[in-house]
Symmetry: C2
Subunit: 503 residues, 2 copies
């Protein structure tokens, strides 16, 4: 506690910028003890945090990892913190948020009086939120749009719409229920003439699907290769057939590129939107899941381990959920299934074992590997990896440039993809991933290798600091790329050209 | 304290989502008292909050407002909270953030060894931050990009780069000093081979400049009508002439559309970037300020009142700043000058007093007012207003559609702009602004009026919840627009068409 002066602590209280984690936690526990008035609560909180940490250690062991190695030592602590933070909405009260932020405003007496007064519709668009999927426990992104029609001569502070939405986002959710809960909560607390909520949701693909084609240049709104749904929920005046408020709400969303038609938004299969579900069931909308024989075999080899599943179930209890709730029944095993994609492997990857081929002419396009000025290029290789500090996905693209010593030696793009997949599918950090890929390619193409990895980190985006849009680029250079600035510059130009041409 | 159970309180501690403000503040004060170990600190904090609240009341009185009216009653409290939150960086310690987030990582022993290992450059791009301008106290937006080269075999957790940057953003700043401070702090705490920081900063224009042309469809990166600067700061290996790390950093930024050339970033006039400065001095880069006689006259009529200036100076003291620091000398009077743009006026606005003209042919383009299907259109009228709940700017565009009873009656676009300016330049809420504009237009064009206001609210973006990109749309409809859905629909189409054509 030495480093903890009062000013420093107070910041920790008021702000989302944390102090060093241990200090922060001690302070939180201390403060909760005193102000809550009950030592029981703070003790049970500390106990549930410890239980989550223990559960995470079980998961790390199940992944074949040494949870005492430096990079992982505090991972259980970070994961516990993220889980508790990501589910804090169970303890938050909408009433506390909205009270004190209702303002009397002349002209909004009835809210629905078209003829005599300027009837009002208030819409806050493009609120970025994050929630956790109740089917698989992974975070999913939300762009939330909320409209309401003031009534009884009062309006609510705009930021409260976002805060109330976040209360329900910080629970285990599926998109439709989230929309419904936000709508009902605002209707009950603000008591307007009506509320309408539209959510655009994006869920990451599971890596075994291999369909993912992340484009780091696209914004959140055109994420390629993601599972997307659009849901909406309305109350009061928005549901009245003769009223035009729902049309107006949708018109205002259309100005931001969000296209919804009446009755279009709510689909029955939304409850099965999570990609983990598509691995186990036929979708309700009639699309039959295609599992190849290979996939079946590989899923057999990764049968979720009972102890890992039990550990995840205990995490659900710790955050205040009921693992026997119908929607959560398969969740622990689905989350374990996700984690097992990143199981530590003892085998090493040798690029030369994978389809190094003798090409008749150097520099000819080879399975999408192209060349420019003697540099072979494999750009935009998609990957999804798992951050070892937070057990959260990071995903993006790898760009590889390399130069061969011998003419006629080259490698298929598919072999490079397999290599990227090999290094990505484990607990990783982007810095190491970049270096490992560079060194693997350099083992064959020793004239020069350059690797650029561009990725979005869920641990930067969905946790505490929520820096939406922030992204990380790492570089590794070997051989001629490091000695000759011109070669490096050509490679950067190739990446830029490729990004703008959208190839 | 009845509503305050321990679980609820703990959320208030850990998370940026606040409880109802009073509850939160009580909890903060209580907790700080106990954990900080010193009642003195908590008392002095509470006292300084009260002092800021008193100062804000002086400002509200200076603006001719009744600070006891419902919309303003808790404004001093909110402003005090926002000021303390926006300057919390003075109390935060970089060491606390970085410690515990340094991870050993093989392959990053030297950081600069090009020949033997894959040398690393790690870049986090597009971190959205907000700071307060030390020249005028208004918030300004930042897109922050940080690169560093690991050394001594260790890397730092990616999110810490963003957290450290935020420590310095949450102080009164100018862009170049902010870049320098982030760079030095990361260099000293992480001890890498080098750090480079690039900041894109946007500052709102003062409304009297009238040059502002906000485009609600453009992202933060192409804010029109804003004062923009690009600054950078580097240390260690990034400053060595023969090293290519700075080039690589800039190349990675170019992939995100940020173009910097070496030596291009730091301009001497950056210290005078604040638009409030351009009202008083010749810019150091030789551009002479053009103040028309009218502007001079109007600035004379808005001489800052001594008591208001003293109140702002006391706020500077309360947040831990020294008002006699050279850079802050003129700040209180500049902030008061900004506020006085929104001084309450007793006069009312009558649109019919402003250039209503008899047009020879109805439906002909008239000073940029265009018509479609009998609806007269005035789209994208820019405005800047001041949120009465937080004393923070909100800005955007107003779209007006109206229908005349008498053929040949119309109004110049410039008159509508003057009207929008009249209603915007006071302490406002968007809901009221929309209604007031609609009613003013309806007083002449009583066949039908529809007003859509689209705006970005600093209180949503730069304070607590920091929902970057979120924006608010409000509608008021009167007459034929409310009775005929087709008329309304045509107006929405016109707005959409106008937005995409960029007119």
């Amino acid at each position: 506690m030495g480093a903890l002066d009062a000013g420093c602590f107070e910041d920790g209280l008021q702000n989302r910028i944390g102090l060093e984690e241990e200090v922060e936690d001690m302070a939180t526990a201390e403060a909760a003890k005193v102000v809550g008035g009950s030592e029981m609560d703070s003790e049970s909180d500390a106990e549930s945090t410890r239980s989550i940490e223990d559960a995470v250690r079980v998961l790390l062991q199940g992944l074949g990892e040494d949870h005492e190695r430096e990079g992982l030592r505090r991972t259980p602590h970070r994961v516990a913190k993220a889980f508790r933070d990501g589910t804090r909405g169970y303890k938050e009260k909408v009433k506390d948020i909205v009270e004190g932020a209702l303002f009397p405003e002349a002209g909004f007496e009835t809210g629905i009086d078209h003829a005599d007064g300027a009837s009002g519709l208030v819409v806050v668009r493009d609120i970025n939120l994050f929630s956790h999927c109740e089917s698989c426990l992974l975070p999913f992104s939300i762009k939330c749009h909320i409209g309401y029609v003031p009534s009884q001569g009062r309006i609510v502070g705009l930021s409260k719409l976002s805060r109330v939405a976040d209360v329900f986002a910080k629970r285990l959710q599926d998109p439709q229920r989230l929309a419904n809960e936000i709508c009902v909560a605002l209707h009950d607390s603000v008591k307007p003439a009506g509320v309408s909520v539209a959510l655009q949701c994006w869920h990451i693909q599971f890596p075994e699907e291999r369909k993912c084609n992340f484009n780091t240049n696209s914004l959140i709104s055109d994420k390629q290769g993601w599972v997307k749904v659009l849901v909406s929920s309305s109350s009061g005046i928005f549901k009245e057939e003769k009223s035009s408020f729902l049309d107006d709400f949708f018109s205002l969303l259309r100005l931001r590129g969000v296209v919804i038609e009446k009755g279009d938004a709510t689909h029955s299969h939304v409850s099965h939107w999570c990609p983990s579900r598509s691995l186990e069931v036929h979708l309700s909308n009639g699309h039959c899941l295609q599992i190849s024989e290979n996939d079946k075999a590989s899923s057999k080899t990764t049968v979720p381990q009972t102890s890992m599943v039990a550990a995840v179930a205990s995490i659900l209890c710790c955050v205040g959920e009921d693992p026997s709730r119908k929607e959560l029944l398969g969740t622990p095993s689905r989350y374990v299934q996700w984690l097992l994609n990143f199981k530590s492997s003892n085998s090493d990857f040798q690029l030369k074992d994978h389809s190094v081929c003798n090409m008749s002419s150097y520099g000819v396009t080879n399975g999408n590997v192209t060349s420019t000025n003697g540099i072979q290029l494999a750009l935009n290789l998609p990957f999804c990896s798992q951050c070892e500090h937070h057990l959260l996905p990071f995903h993006g693209v790898v760009h590889i440039g390399y130069m061969s010593k011998q003419e006629g030696i080259d490698v298929e793009r598919s072999a490079l993809l397999t290599m990227v997949h090999f290094f990505a599918c484990k607990l990783q950090v982007q810095e190491r991933l970049t270096r490992q890929i560079a060194e693997a390619v350099y083992s064959i193409f020793s004239n020069g290798v350059m690797v650029v990895v561009e990725a979005y980190h869920n641990c930067m985006i969905s946790r505490g600091i929520e820096k939406v849009g922030s992204n990380t680029a790492t570089i590794a250079v070997l051989g001629q790329f490091s000695s000759d600035p011109k070669t490096k510059s050509l490679f950067f130009q190739a990446i830029a050209k490729n990004a703008t041409s959208g190839t």
